[in-house]
Symmetry: C2
Subunit: 333 residues, 2 copies
């Protein structure tokens, strides 16, 4: 049973990093982005493709632009602080671009952590951040341990029911290492994303473990059946379902923003809540760092984030991988 690969076997171009960034930045500045905010977004999309997550990378860029054009994303919005209680702050994302808001919020949590050891920012009214792992990875680059999570539209049935009322609430955690090979966990609470189910169905693959229910309500490893029923499984069955509810209550409660239920009442997923927690680099003693390295040295398989490091190195050398169809579409934007 191998973990399914996300790297597409389709028609993949290899492009220089600057070629990709330049086009994306041009598309965004033409829509009113400042150059620095355009760069932040372009870089996040491109980086996600570099580390092997095209579904949250360049594949998603046309949808991002569509949402700007439909005014679901406010190009000019800057997040603003609503409330400060020392180590905890509440911010309003004002429906601005998700990657800009999330980077700002994580950066702010890090600043707070430098003062109080731990820093927490709860962000409401924001948009899809693409890939949770990219924000904690950037915190790790600066030596911070970090956690972030987001709520989503309802896309998983509460365990024991067929009512999609909890979200797959991606969560990411990072632990920094001095050699730059940070440990990064990034996972949604669904066993498989709908993106990976679609890819597996397109290729006629069977899932390595049950990923949802078929239309008769039985667990299945057939991705096409799950796409028809729209009933993907949470990780750990009842456990993931319960954890998802709690994460939604936490992020929407602390951010004072939309719950998964309320997001589901909109015409499309936006205006979500996110939570960012950073722990200051000085909290890790030399002894703790040595212990951490001992754990990793004895870990018998890839550590979380290792595949992304390798993909980034390989793709930096070979060029940014972009699906040929996606690249054509981006050219039309």
């Amino acid at each position: 049973m191998a973990r399914p690969s996300e790297s597409p076997k389709d028609d993949i171009l290899r492009l220089p990093l600057t070629t990709v960034l330049d086009l994306l930045i041009a598309i965004l500045t033409a829509r009113g982005f400042t150059r620095s905010r355009a760069w932040r977004c372009a870089y996040t999309f491109t980086e996600n493709s570099l580390v092997g997550g095209p579904s949250h990378g360049l594949n998603r860029f046309p949808r991002f632009v569509e949402w700007i054009d439909r005014e679901r994303i406010d190009v000019d919005a800057h997040p603003s602080r609503l409330d400060s209680h020392g180590a905890f702050e509440r911010w309003d994302g004002k429906l601005g671009p998700g990657p800009v808001n999330a980077a700002r919020a994580m950066h702010r949590a890090m600043r707070i952590a430098l003062r109080y050891g731990i820093g927490c920012v709860a962000l409401s009214n924001t948009n899809h951040w693409l890939r949770a792992g990219s924000y904690v990875a950037r915190a790790a680059e600066k030596g911070f341990l970090a956690v972030c999570t987001t709520n989503t539209e309802p896309n998983l049935a509460a365990w024991g029911t067929d009512e999609a009322c909890v979200g797959n609430n991606p969560i990411a955690l990072s632990v920094p290492r001095t050699d730059g090979h940070h440990v990064v966990f990034d996972g949604a609470l669904s066993q498989f994303s709908y993106g990976s189910l679609e890819r597996a169905a397109r290729r006629g693959e069977t899932l390595p473990v049950p990923g949802g229910f078929n239309e008769s309500g039985d667990p299945t490893t057939n991705p096409a059946e799950i796409l028809r029923s729209q009933r993907a499984l949470p990780i750990g069955y009842w456990k993931g379902s319960a954890l998802s509810l709690l994460l939604d209550l936490f992020v929407s409660g602390l951010a004072d923003g939309r719950s998964t239920r309320e997001i589901g009442q909109l015409d499309a997923e936006h205006g979500v809540c996110q939570l960012f927690v950073a722990f200051a680099p000085f909290l890790l003693t030399p002894h703790a760092i040595a212990t951490l390295e001992q754990t990793l040295a004895n870990y018998p398989t890839r550590y979380p984030g290792q595949r992304a490091h390798r993909a980034r190195e390989e793709n930096r050398a070979r060029g940014v991988p972009v699906d040929a169809t996606v690249w054509s579409t981006i050219h039309t934007l």
Copy 2:
């Protein structure tokens, strides 16, 4: 597919709360506990049986006493603060009783949160806290949102290997409600605990979903086979395995204490690390509380913690449920 019940169908006595507490307190004070610390431990064991978790309640009390007698638990130890960085503090549990140390640490995190919005205590050198949920539930009683997690001995294979090198790292989250019916998630990262596998095997039951591997390395719903292979499954397969590594790096790193690997090198599980995070009650606005109640009012099934509330009410009325054999054993201590 029903979630398996933990309530034993064996020979169960129903005892008045004071009868149980008095005996446990007498046993502990005879071993040098002060009355207040004896009460804290006795209450934690009894409460866990009251809410329907006997394996982390009275069933475990004889082992707790054995560990005191073998001097793995230091009756007189008081946790002490090693380090303070504002909203983050590091404490040394000095191998004292787990339930006393954990209650102290959660209480301290709450005190810090009142000052800084969020409070975090990392605790090293502590012992088994019994049930993660009891500490966050107490925080919820005071109006705090709370999270706690612990590392453990290595008891799960890292995904893709047969090497038990990650722990099942229980994690608990709570969200307070004004009516006292707090939402409490309490789950380990294994799909089933070894306790519940043993119970299911004893009763000849089949698990509702695969809970581990048999000795040929195939997933199985037969609990006896999993007990033989000692290869229980993490929740979400590769996801739970990765998350478990990250949680161990977080708690042992921030507490500057023993890693799962180091705990596995001891003669038995003790001296673990735990992390406690509390969010102050004043962070929840009236709007956020209303949103939260709306989510719960529309939740189509039991919310996490609801079964424990009902069990507590029922058992308060009917008497503390205690396995007859366990109760005889406790009398011999």
